[in-house]
């Protein structure tokens, strides 16, 4: 079953800064980033994805690789439904969970429990589902009584534990990640890796943007390489 189909997708970012006019004179090619150009209405834009086509099916563990500014993060946001193609088409079947920013929706003044509800609700979970997952989150984070305390009283490590535990609760068909997530101290890291591996195993499609060849080898079975927003390589590994 095809989960994601991109057909000739191009994504242009308009540049609205008042100084953008001066860009006109410097349309030079640079080593990072997408192509900078000017459209028919004299509007400068950055071409972040350039006529990209591919399909992702169930069982695919896709590594998105490429330089800074090659379009990896843009691709993740495109798949998350945040960005839409300027030209071309994308169709996505199934619900998408994004683990790009773990601390999304976290409020430092709210208690641990309140934050669990906020984050999980933003991810689309119902109060009933959240309530069912709470014991598991309590057990996994080992935060105990701290869950009744404001988030601001947590150490950074503890904050990450909670954010990670809630974010990885979600059941989705397509999982998006920006680099491998690693949280906590040595003991906890192993536990977190287990949890993440379990989540990935139970998710039909994984798309992960990464710079780490070791990670690509370990979790992925397909590599999509981007350069200046163009697809330059797509092969199984």
């Amino acid at each position: 079953m095809k989960r994601i189909v991109l057909k000739d997708v191009t994504l242009d970012f308009p540049v609205y800064n008042s100084s953008s006019r001066s860009l006109k004179s410097k349309l030079v090619s640079i080593s990072t980033g997408g192509k900078i150009a000017i459209d028919t209405r004299d509007q400068p834009y950055v071409r972040s994805l350039d006529h990209v086509s591919y399909e992702i099916s169930d069982g695919d563990r896709v590594a998105l690789v490429g330089h800074n500014g090659s379009g990896k993060s843009t691709t993740l946001r495109l798949l998350a439904g945040v960005y839409h193609p300027t030209f071309g088409q994308i169709s996505t079947k199934g619900n998408v969970a994004s683990l790009i920013d773990l601390s999304l929706g976290m409020d430092i003044d709210a208690t641990g429990y309140e934050n669990i509800y906020m984050r999980a609700t933003i991810m689309g979970m119902s109060p009933h589902e959240i309530r069912k997952r709470i014991p598991e989150i309590e057990e996994f984070t080992e935060l105990g009584e701290y869950l009744n305390m404001p988030f601001r009283t947590y150490s950074t490590g503890m904050q990450m534990r909670l954010a990670f535990a809630v974010s990885t609760c979600v059941k989705a068909d397509i999982l998006l990640m920006d680099e491998w997530i690693s949280v906590g101290d040595a003991g906890f890291q192993a536990k977190a890796a287990d949890r993440l591996n379990n989540l990935i195993q139970s998710t039909p499609v994984l798309v992960i943007a990464t710079h780490s060849p070791a990670l690509v080898k370990k979790v992925c079975n397909r590599k999509i390489e981007l350069e200046h927003g163009r697809l330059i390589d797509d092969q199984p590994i």
């Binding site: 998350a80 945040v82 839409h84 709210a110 933003i122």
Partner: protein, 264 residues
């Protein structure tokens, strides 16, 4: 069932309503955050409202040479409701830009953020209602059958606020100067809207107010609470403005929703 139909409608506003859990939670969270660790909590709103009204009431009833028994109820109702409307307009300007972190991360309908903001302000308004009830009873204003129309008037005003919030939020995300313009404009509108002064002071020039949309909403709200005769005019205007803005906001969201995230 209803929720599923709304979600399928593909109209941002209706999809957002179906996702009521998110904006409801975020709105309450906003209020909790604002008043955390304060003893009175949201009742600070009630208290500060009482203080401003008492101060304004004493001074302006003298300036306008009006009986305070008559002036204070008028001022209270107008002032509380004006605050509700104007806060929404001002907060609309940042409703999309302020939600950047969420917008760039998950694909939620944009109405989520607008409804969060309007709902938050409605909750705050409810905290000021005791002031209105107190003053109306204390000054023995009495009420008539129009009171039954109050929920409708409030709904109409709230819908106006939501649609305006959509439009301003989107326009301000694209054109960053508009927010500043709205900020200074709202101060002017306060002075030209009958909030602390009465519309009949304009005598033969009342037609000037017809061009002020905020006036019509204040009128229908005041009409319901203040034991005055029913008048069709502000109702017709409010309904017309709300419907027009509603259609316009649906249009503008349809045109821009695929690009808003690129502007942030």
């Amino acid at each position: 069932m209803i929720i599923r139909t709304l979600k399928k409608s593909n109209i941002d506003f209706l999809v957002a309503i179906a996702d009521y859990r998110i904006w409801n939670l975020l709105a309450f969270q906003d209020i909790r955050q604002r008043y955390r660790r304060s003893v009175l909590g949201p009742f600070w709103i009630t208290l500060s409202m009482l203080i401003s009204i008492a101060a304004l009431g004493v001074v302006y009833s003298k300036i306008f040479k009006m009986n305070i028994d008559e002036y204070l109820p008028y001022l209270t109702v107008g002032y509380v409701l004006w605050n509700f409307i104007s806060t929404i307009v001002l907060e609309s300007t940042a409703v999309i830009t302020g939600a950047e972190a969420i917008i760039k991360q998950v694909n939620l309908p944009f109405g989520t953020y607008v409804l969060r903001m309007v709902w938050r302000n409605l909750i705050i308004l409810f905290h000021s209602f005791p002031v209105i009830v107190l003053i109306l009873i204390y000054f023995n204003v009495g009420f008539n059958i129009n009171l039954l129309l109050f929920p409708l008037a409030l709904l109409l005003t709230t819908a106006f606020a939501v649609f305006l919030g959509y439009i301003l939020g989107i326009v301000c995300a694209r054109y960053r100067d508009v927010g500043q313009i709205i900020n200074s404009l709202m101060q002017v509108i306060f002075y030209v809207t009958p909030v602390i002064w009465r519309a009949d002071l304009l005598k033969g020039n009342r037609w000037l107010l017809d061009f002020n949309p905020f006036y019509h909403y204040l009128e229908i709200l005041r009409m319901c609470l203040m034991n005055v005769a029913f008048d069709w005019r502000p109702w017709t205007c409010s309904i017309a403005i709300t419907c027009t803005l509603g259609l316009f906001s649906i249009f503008i969201v349809k045109r821009t929703k695929f690009r808003i995230a690129l502007w942030l």
